[in-house]
Symmetry: C2
Subunit: 155 residues, 2 copies
């Protein structure tokens, strides 16, 4: 049985230590579970000139949340690999005027087949969706294609 | 004749003052011309755990550069309006391992017809493309749809 609290702490610590912008976003990992991760950020550090959350902050939290889901999927299977985003799109449906929570839920089957491909071929694309909900309505929808690459064995 | 140096200074000052994340990105407006704007950011403030530039930083600089182009287009015509991004997509073609420059070039005709619509209807969508080039090759392509809305007159 894996300790998801420890994984949440490791993920958050890594982000804050290695990515200055993640520290500026003031993000916090709230949920870390086999098929779900959620990340919170405060409006104060992320406001724009309209008094709502800056579009770049919303995107950055989404792209990290999806990355975290892929990282967690590898960790759960004891796989090592580097994860990079290749392409994404984001739709801003409602302005976000408060602290917010970004959630990524992986469908077990899709994740399993991507990671099987990664395990055999050393490379796979993992498509992930993140959303930011406000008062029961979707404010932001993000779709990202993450590429997972294995570390080639020496020789 | 408009003073584009003064507009560049105003744009950069507004970003740094009103958007904490723009200050964290350490962006600098480099070019401000009738149909072109370019924005620079350093890798140091924007690195990720691979030692390259964080995907969220690349996106944030693109979304601001496009916003700046729309802002500049309004200013050049003495129009007032609020500009928000509605939808965007970004493709990461190459990792960015150095300080980088993001450029947005507006096609005069497309911009003119959008702003004519805005002037008559009080609302228009302005599609803009931003790119980040490295050593003559395109590292990042960003396409954003910005919505420009007029301030309704009182009464």
């Amino acid at each position: 049985v894996q300790n998801f609290d420890a994984l949440a702490t490791e993920l958050q610590t890594t982000w804050h230590r290695e990515i200055p912008l993640a520290a500026a976003l003031a993000i916090e990992v709230v949920t870390c579970a086999p098929h779900e991760i959620s990340v919170r950020a405060p409006i104060a550090a992320n406001r724009n000139l309209h008094g709502t959350v800056f579009a770049g902050s919303l995107y950055s939290v989404c792209v990290l949340t999806g990355w975290g889901m892929a990282w967690l999927a590898l960790r759960q299977r004891d796989l090592a690999g580097s994860i990079v985003i290749a392409h994404s799109q984001i739709r801003y449906r409602k302005a976000v005027a408060d602290d917010f929570l970004c959630t990524c839920r992986a469908t077990a089957d899709a994740q399993e087949s991507s990671l099987e491909k990664f395990a055999t071929e050393g490379r796979a694309t993992v498509p992930l969706v993140c959303t930011i909900e406000l008062e029961g309505r979707t404010a932001v929808t993000f779709e990202g294609d993450y590429v997972v690459r294995g570390h080639k064995p020496a020789g």
